[in-house]
């Protein structure tokens, strides 16, 4: 389904980034550990206030490469740099609230 959504020209955004699909990914799949509302579960709270200590590059690296020794997996097999950047901005700027 992921590939299908990305391939759909009607909803594809810039540089192959599909905001609707990414928002869905954040809610549903990041949400497996961080909660559908992103306020935390087995994984920590990732709402904007909880992420203030991250600069965007570091947060993007966490998304792409995970945090070794923790349950945070690397998403690089599933996400492009541009997509990770979109998610970083989405998480930090509070659009996720």
């Amino acid at each position: 389904m992921w590939l299908l959504l990305l391939a759909s020209p009607a909803i594809a955004g810039e540089a192959g980034v599909d905001p609707a699909a990414l928002e869905r990914l954040v809610r549903q799949d990041c949400g497996s550990c961080h909660g559908l509302s992103l306020k935390g579960g087995l994984g920590p709270d990732i709402r904007p206030a909880a992420l203030q200590h991250y600069d965007p590059d570091t947060l993007r690296a966490v998304i792409l490469d995970g945090v070794p020794g923790t349950a945070m997996p690397p998403w690089r097999p599933l996400l492009s740099d541009a997509e990770a950047q979109w998610i970083t901005a989405y998480l930090l700027t509070g659009e996720s609230e």
Partner: protein, 382 residues
């Protein structure tokens, strides 16, 4: 005859609404609609949704247990909500917010106590099943997972951060707590076997599972499947597996590996490995059909559109199909002739014949996740 006519007249004069006692609950169930804070009350025999109940808060990762009479569902919301739902009337009997972030619960063997496992504040809280008044607060300083009931009015759960299992005995006036350290790093979920004897915790941070024999006076952690991933790179886990009481398949327990795309089989008596089955992806649920003959497995993102069915005798995949995007949960009818499957992104619950694998029916549901049939009321650990 006249008397009969009088009786008929009386019967006709009763309110038209279906009397509560006219519907038994043994083949009913509840489907969580995770995104909308609602549930569907469903009828297994009719393959139908009977009604929708709304207003239950954040139900992402929600679960529930049933009262012994199968009339009430205690629904554990992610937001700390605990709702007692009368599944006959569809009315919310009582609803409280008992914590900030929760992950499931259990009901005591006598049906009098409901316990909830909390992430925030970390611990377990125990409530009177009639009134939902709190009767015990057990802070742990850790996120708690794998909460189950055990015989003797006990609850058992584990600490994600501390790697301990706690047994809470509620048979007396005050809770008696037994702490068992050394379960391993980051237990993420646990199950208790249907006989209430063996508690098995899955570990995210260690290369084994840990079992406790609750029949022992002082249960000690026993490593199960030690080093099952040794020498192999860990694969990314995009969703933690679940362990549930449907693990016994024939004489083996069947368990999802973590970070490996396989399910693991262990002898239920000796806890020694008896086999492994390579699977399509990271297994989430590996659920034995109630007769144990087959095991149904679903998978983590991004392979969560698929189900594989394993044969218990050969431990091989005998059937694979794609119900649709976002297969989150499977629930068998009590004798296993049918299985209901939540397909989140299709907005459907799909019902299959477990012998022919033919689809019988689809039911519309809003982002369905957990499916819970009332037969759970009479099973330990569910």
């Amino acid at each position: 005859m006249k008397r009969m006519m009088q009786w008929l007249a009386l019967a006709c004069a009763l309110p038209l609404a279906t009397p509560l006692w006219a519907q038994a609950t043994g083949d009913l169930g509840v489907v969580i609609e995770r995104a909308t804070g609602s549930v569907l009350i469903v009828d297994q025999s009719e393959h139908a949704a009977l009604r929708r109940v709304e207003g239950l808060g954040d139900l992402s990762h929600a679960s529930l247990v049933y009262s012994p009479d199968q009339q009430f569902a205690y629904i554990f919301g992610r937001d700390g909500g605990l709702t007692k739902l009368d599944i006959l009337s569809g009315e919310i009997t009582t609803r409280i917010m008992q914590a900030g972030n929760s992950i499931g619960g259990a009901i005591s063997d006598d049906g009098r106590l409901v316990a909830v496992s909390n992430y925030e504040p970390g611990g377990v809280r125990i409530f009177d099943a009639d009134t939902l008044e709190m009767v015990a607060d057990i802070p742990t300083g850790s996120k708690t997972i794998g909460l189950v009931d055990a015989p003797g009015r006990r609850f058992v759960f584990s600490l994600w951060d501390a790697g301990e299992t706690w047994i809470v005995d509620m048979s007396g006036d005050v809770p008696q707590i037994t702490r068992i350290p050394g379960m391993g790093d980051n237990p993420y979920d646990a199950l208790i076997t249907g006989d209430g004897r063996t508690y098995i915790a899955g570990l995210f941070g260690d290369d084994h599972l840990s079992a406790l024999d609750l029949w022992q006076a002082d249960p000690e952690p026993q490593k199960v499947l030690a080093g099952y991933a040794a020498g192999r790179a860990d694969l990314p886990v995009y969703k933690m597996p679940h362990l549930e009481g449907w693990a016994l398949a024939g004489t083996d327990f069947v368990l999802p590996a973590v970070g490996q795309h396989e399910v693991l089989w262990v002898d239920a008596r000796t806890l020694m490995e008896t086999g492994r089955t390579p699977t399509h992806g990271q297994p989430v649920f590996a659920m034995a059909r109630p007769d144990g003959r087959h095991v149904w497995v679903n998978f983590a993102h991004p392979l969560n559109d698929t189900i594989q069915v394993l044969d218990t005798l050969t431990k091989e995949v005998i059937h694979e199909f794609k119900p649709g995007p976002g297969v989150l949960h499977m629930e068998f009818t009590s004798r296993g002739h049918e299985v209901w499957v939540s397909v989140r992104d299709a907005g459907r619950v799909m019902i299959y014949d477990t012998q022919s694998f033919e689809k019988i029916r689809e039911i519309d549901a809003e982002s369905p996740s957990g499916i819970f049939f009332t037969a759970r009321a009479h099973k330990m650990g569910l």
